[in-house]
Amino acid sequence: MSDLVKVTIDGITVEVAPGTSILNAARQIGGDIVPPAMCYYSKLEGSGGKCRTCIVKVSKGSEKDPRPMPKLVASCRTAVMDGMEVQNITSPEVLEARSGVVEILLINHPLDCPVCDQAGECDLQNLSYEHGLQKTRYEFERRTFERIDIGDKIQLHMNRCILCYRCVFVADQITNKRVHGILNRGDHSEISTYIQTAVENDFSGNVIDVCPVGALTDKTFRFKNRVWFTKPVDAHRNCNHEKCNGKVTLWYKGEDVLRVTARKDQFGEVEEFICNECRFDKKATADWVIEHPTHISDTSVISSNHYDTFKPLPVIKENLALQEANKVELEKTAKF
């Protein structure tokens, strides 16, 4: 079984190990054809399959059995077969179904991005920009919950939750004891401890990083700033915790470290989970060895003022007249 299998996603063929999911095969290709994932998390076993945003069309099952799959499938939980052909952004059916999922995810969402700490780095926000409608067709009262503090460092804002279960998997797999879970059923489901218990654990802060929306936020950063006004810098320290290697991203405003998070990869997943001491208690530059500015995708709102050198559109790059006309703008973007 060591042989690689061939899968074609939106016309691009890639060879991957057997058992790889369609989503991970797409991630190996990269770019726009990677389906969005709100609940799947490669570092959390058993995650995925729930949010349905990563659905794709399998137009050819495999070389052996070329029949298409009858329904759209969750790419995060469907393994590739040799010769499989998958359509993601080339299938209008997929895009329509996905925008349906996004619409449905938003009907009970408070849409409170202006006061949400997650805004600017929120998967749901990004997704609704890409696929959502301009207005809502849902005209009923939205589901609401009380905000609760689960411990003194983490706030649960259940209204925003999309029930991806990632934080439950983190508690099960990364921490040594789970005290929160999914209660109730259907659209009454909620993340809760049921009784007022603090989530106290050396690694509990990781639930904040894996939360795709603003349901679990860092109270030490609450309302301190908008993320796009802060400057992320990669740093490390010698952490004494056996399971934490102290590699983090520091989010600066001026000279102050406003928050500390794990480092995230291009798909928004943390590279390595960090301990609570690093996250909550080490907020002085002196605690850290600074490495370099964090690479932020230039499509992210976070990068809008910082770091990445301006990449002029090709049309400007090759045209001196246009460069001259855009001189002021070009100078502004070269400031950092």
Binding site: K177, R178, V179, H180, G181, I182, L183, N184, R185, T193, Y194, I195, Q196
Partner: protein
Amino acid sequence: MLKVEEQQPVEFSSTLLSEADEIIKRYPKGKHKSALLPILHLVQAELGWTSVPAMDKVAEILNIEPIEVYEVASFYSMYFLQPKGKYVLEVCRTGPCCLVGAEKIMNHIEAKLGVKEGEVTKDGLFSWRGVECLAACGYGPVLQIGPEYTFYENLTPQSVDTLIDDLRKK
């Protein structure tokens, strides 16, 4: 709503504990969590509802985290997370029963008991609620009363009156 801190500590009877032991033996080694649903039924039959202290105790018996019990108890509709009347009249409110008058029966029960769905009568005897299909569609309207879930079929306002009066006298 009874708050968690107001909930009294509980002791399970020795019968319950030995029945629970018997149930746990059914499952392969290490799979004793399977006993959770049956044991919760025993607890509710004994205490009338599943309080937090009771669920914590169940977690102890099964050697699992309390949250695992809360998750399960809150998922299934048969476990009461709040105290109820001694008799809970659960009336089927799904399509086929409604075709033969379940809504009328529910209105009648509400008027007869003088309490709204989910509430408890002052004497602590009765609660009622609409539940989804009880798989007795051909004998509708139907209602059931725990903890043995005795069935009452082909209900009429008169038969409901008799039933409630009989239960009052018990």
